[in-house]
Each structure stands twice: as C-alpha cells, then as structure tokens.
Symmetry: C2
Subunit: 353 residues, 2 copies
DNA sequence: CTGTTAGCGCATTCAG
DNA sequence: CTGAATGCGCTAACAG
C-alpha cells in the first residue's frame, strides 16, 4: 500500500542504502545514480517515513517554539520570525533536509508548558525555542530546569528568547533577554520629566519575570525621583489583557482620583486603560497620560498614538531561530541583552495645570 | 545511556509488552502491575520514544495546524482555539495519550504550504487543520488536492477552518466555511442605507478565496442598489496589512475626491485606512466612513470604534479542533457555513450634507 | 491478564 | 562509489 524506500530502490535498481544516501545528501553518490533514484522517487511519489528515519538516526527534524499565548502579537511576532528562519527556506515544495518548525501554545499554563516539553522530548526534537517571560514559582523552575537539562543531554539545542536565563542552568545554548527593567525605567522617567507625580501602574500577572522586571524599572525611576510612598496602592496586577487594563484603571481612579498618568504592563493592557479613561469622560493625554510596552503593531494606530517601549520582537525571534539552527554563533557567555527603546508618541503629555 | 522501555520492564519485573500497555492505556492491566510499572517509569524518568512508537504503530500523535500568518490575529485566534481543543487537555505535566498540536506558519507562500504538508505527511500526522482562505491558482489547487488526498489515504484526518471546501475533493473530513460573501454584502448594505453612494474598496490580495468572496458580497450589494459603474476604479488590491490600507486609501482619495466611505478587506487594513484619512485631515466618520472585517480584538478600542463584520474565530477554531480529534460529528455533507455578523459601531455614519 | 515473537522503515556500519 | 547486514525502540498479533 504505502511505498517505502525499498520500493524506490527496486525501481531505481539500486540498494536501499543508496536511496537513503541520495535522500539525505550526506554521502557521495554518482550523479547518474542519483538521477535515477530521484526519478524513481518522483514516479512513485515517495515520501520519507519520518518516524522510521528518526528512529534509525536517533534525531528528528522537529523544532519546537513554545509561546505563552499565540493570540498575543507579542508572542506571535517572535514565533513567526523564528519559524521563518527555521522552516521552509528554499520552498521547493518537495521538502528536502527541511526542519519542521512548529509552535506550541502553552496558554500560560505551567503544566501545559511541561507537557509540551515532554512531548517534544518524546519526539527527540532537534531544537527548542522558549519565548517570553517565565513563571517564578520555585517548583516550576526546578521542574523546567530538570526537563531542559534532560533535553539538552539528549542533543536538543535550546534557545531562550525574551526570557531571562534560568538560574544555574547551563543546558541552554543561548538566552536573548529583553531589557524590561531598563525599558520600564525609561518610560517612567519620561513621565516624571513631563511633570507627573501621581502615576498608576497596571502590572501583569504576578510571579512572572516580565512583570517583575518592568515593575522594578518603574519603581526604580520613581525612587530616584524621590517618590517612594504609596506604591503598593498604586499598583494593580492582572493578566496581559485588555480587560485587566480596563478594570484596573477604574480601580486606580477610585483609589487615587488625583491620578495624572497610567503606565500599563503592555500595549494591550494600555488599550483597556484608554477605554476606561474615555468611559469616565477623561481625555488622553490632556487629563490623564497613558503609556504601554512592546510597541505592538496597532499601537501606532490607536488615537492618540501610544507612547510605549519598543522591543525588537521580530529581530529577536529571527535571531533565536538562527541560533537554534546553529547558523549564528552564540553570544559571549550565552547571554545577550536585547535593548528596549522608548517611543514617545501622543498619549503622554504634561499633567494639567 | 538513554533509558528504554525494556529498562522499565526489567525494573518492574514485567515484559516490555506490559509496559507498553500501561503506557498506552488501551488494554486491560492489573492495577498492582500498573502501579509497579508506573513507579519504575517514575524512578527511571523514562520518556517514550516517539519515533519508535510511531513506527511500530504506524500513526503519530502529531496534529498540524496550518496558518497563513501567525502574527495576524485572524489566524492566531483560530489556531489558539484549535490547539486548545487538541493538546494539553488534562495538564498532568507527564503527557499521557496527549496529542502534540503544532501550528505551522506558511507566510502565505504556496510553496511553503506544500512543504509543510509534505513534512506533516512524512511525520504521519494524525490530523490536520487548514485555516483561512485558499489561493485560487489552479496549479496550486491541484497540487494541494493531490497532497490532501494522499494524506487522507494514509489516515490523516483533515479539517478546513475558514476556508471553502476544495472543488472535487472529498478527502476532507469537514470544512467550516465563513460566510464572507454574506458578511461583505451586509456591510455594504449598511453603508448604502446610511446614504453612501461613492464607496471605495481596499481589497485583499488577488487570487484568494477570502478576498474574492468579500468583494463579491460588496459588489452584489452595490448592484442591488443600482450602483454599477466605476467599480474597478474604486477597488484596489493589496496584502492584508496596515500599509496596504494606508496606501490604497490615499490612492482612492486621489481617484475619487468625492469618496464618502472606505470599506477595507479586514480590520488591520481598515486601521491603515483610518490613519491615511486622518493624515489628510479628514474626520471619521463625519467626512469619511470606514468599515473593516473580522472584528479583531483591537477593533473595539480604536477611536472611533470600528464598524465591522464579526467572525466567530475562536468558536470556529475550537470546533475545527474537536472535529480533527473526532470529538464532534461532522456537519451534514461535511460542510458547515459559519455566519458573519454585522457590527455597527462608531466609524460609520451618514455622509455629509 | 501477561509473556513471546516478529517486524515497522530506515540509517548505518562494514565489505567490496 | 555501492551493496549486504544489523539494529534503532516500540507495538501488535499470538499464545498461554
């Protein structure tokens, strides 16, 4: 029923070994022989049996890209760029030595993250790219560390993109860490320079590196400006979602009616913050300034255009892809910091009066 | 070095077959025996060898989800929902009979689409979900049809989501087709009812079913209203990108200064259209109305909120996932139409004067 | 309920 | 440069 390598060999009048050699192209084969084999492959419409091949060779062509939320442009952009560097380069349609770059959506669940890692380990994945911030729960970190070590031992190349290196884990090839702290700091410094003093902060979910680092940058800027009190009351945590921005902003307004600026965990949250302010009859930025983070594609198009911190997501994702493929040298020490750039647009202005 | 099923069997003092049976859970095993095996698995930190398993069983647990552009929320939302139904349901972290749901990003390239299909075929994928519109090039359609037929013959379950069924291809399990034509028609009827007569249309890329259907709906509404002339000049094609909306709107304004409304291929394009109009000093909707399609998450937050056509992307994606897993019965005839709902918001209003 | 026996389809030695 | 032989790790009959 299903055509195998032996069938191709028979038709090309060569041994199976020879067919394998031309297909993998990693061994000298006479041009005429290769020609004959390729023709037979064509005629029989032969497709390599991946599992059999992986079993024999003890490696597979699967490359996994893990994301927290595929529907969040932050992850989608990184994943797309990484995948572009890994899979389908030439595009012959026939699939030669192609890697199969696949993205796996954990939905932010630690369990699913671990499950995907096991599944990828089971498939003997060639490489792995983990994107975005990590959960800071010690138990989960330990579990992840252990899993990644096993994967690395089995030959899987591991790259982190937009995630700080794991403590005490040298299983990984490279880590591209975003400068979330620096970005958060620059953003708040901008607000302080404009004259804001009562600034609310809608943070991301607790126990996440991204959340913590951005918040730390914010607090550091405030502290440097001598604004220290009241920070807990002016900070609200929630998911990286519009809804969180909306609800938290309403609550901030209740807690601190004198609020003149809202800093959001990311642009999506900022969108929700803007909606809440508008619904309260407040103008942006005349009454309240709003700032985001990430510079997602829509941020330049909302009105007023969002002041935010740009992260080179596509560039970082592409680099992670190349690192995973071994087409780019790892940074010294295996760790590279990706800079964050302040983008001042129209949603921030000096406070009233 | 690497621990195998035989090692587990030895440690649990049972035969390899028994270990296989408890791992796959598809055969009766005494509770005490199972217990012993599971403990051995735990102690040895054993992970099943996927390729070997797939080779022996002639099936794999890979499920592919193909998308045109992972960074486009339209696809990301469908893919995320499908993946949620397929992978990581329980979330034990240990990965039992889990499927490995993976999304593959074709970038809209027909070659890469075919390549991914071959790669998935090579892996003996258990199921396949193809999302979004299809390219209408006859050569590509034929190639796709042939590939899908082979895949189906090999036992891969194929589901289309947001894509019309292929002509003459009953390889597929089910197709969930969006009512793009109906949606496009409703949208333009809304504009006509408001009194618009000079309406520009920024279409998607040519040769794509989605583009064609939406445009057909638009034209049908115009024709029904007796507006027939000039349609070619008022229609511009471009990618589903902000930039296209921006550039095309500028060109439409040049071609037809009396324009009172712009209909965009989707919300992202509409965003670009809005930006272009604003840059020309035109107010939305007072001077020019704008409408989009898809109701992407940001559409409610832009100002003015976008009038658009809502497609239940998450619901459709989830249903496609269930269909692929065989957890839901296929619709009669294998084809289901997913309704599109007109959402009138603030970006459309009667024309001036 | 459990053990034994055969391959699954391919990549590799090793000869030639 | 090519062919023959071996085994990758597991599942699926088949017995018991």
């Amino acid at each position: 029923m299903t055509v195998t390598l032996a069938d191709v060999a028979a038709r090309a009048r060569v041994s199976p070994a020879t067919v394998s050699r031309v297909l993998n192209g990693n061994y000298p084969v006479a041009a005429s022989t290769r020609e004959r084999v390729l023709r037979a492959v064509e005629e029989l419409d032969y497709v390599l049996n991946g599992p059999a091949s992986s079993l024999a060779a003890a490696t597979s062509d699967l490359v996994g890209i893990l994301v927290n939320d595929i529907a969040d442009p932050f992850f989608a952009i990184m994943a797309g760029a990484a995948q572009g560097e890994i899979g389908g380069q030439e595009g012959t349609g026939r699939a030669g030595g192609e890697k199969l770059a696949v993205v796996c959506n954990t939905g932010g669940s630690p369990d699913r993250e671990l499950t995907y890692l096991t599944l990828l380990q089971r498939q003997r994945a060639a490489a792995l790219v983990l994107t975005g911030g990590a959960l800071e729960d010690p138990v989960h970190i330990a579990a992840m560390s252990a899993k990644l070590t096993r994967l690395a031992d089995a030959g899987t190349r591991i790259v982190l993109c937009g995630r700080p290196p794991l403590p005490d884990n040298d299983a990984l090839l490279a880590a591209l860490a975003f400068d979330n702290r620096g970005g958060g700091r620059k953003l708040t410094e901008h607000l302080l320079t404009l004259g804001h003093r009562r600034i609310g902060y809608v943070a991301g979910p607790t126990e996440r590196t991204t959340t913590r680092h951005r918040l730390e940058g914010h607090r550091a800027a405030l502290r440097a400006a001598g604004i220290d009190e009241d920070q807990e009351r002016m900070t609200l945590h929630g998911p990286y979602a519009r809804r969180s921005g909306y609800d938290s902003t309403l609550e901030l307004l209740r807690r601190a009616p004198g609020l003149t600026a809202v800093v959001a965990a990311n642009d999506t949250v900022a969108l929700g913050a803007c909606a809440a302010l508008r619904d309260q009859g407040l103008r942006i930025p005349q009454d309240v300034s709003v700032a985001g983070f990430d510079d997602l594609p829509f941020s330049v198009d909302v009105v007023p255009a969002l002041t935010t911190v740009r992260l080179p997501l596509a560039e970082a994702g592409a680099r992670a892809g190349r690192l995973a493929m071994g087409r780019e040298a790892a940074p010294p020490g295996g760790i590279a910091t990706v800079e964050a750039e302040l983008l001042v647009r129209a949603s921030t202005a000096p406070p009233r009066g």
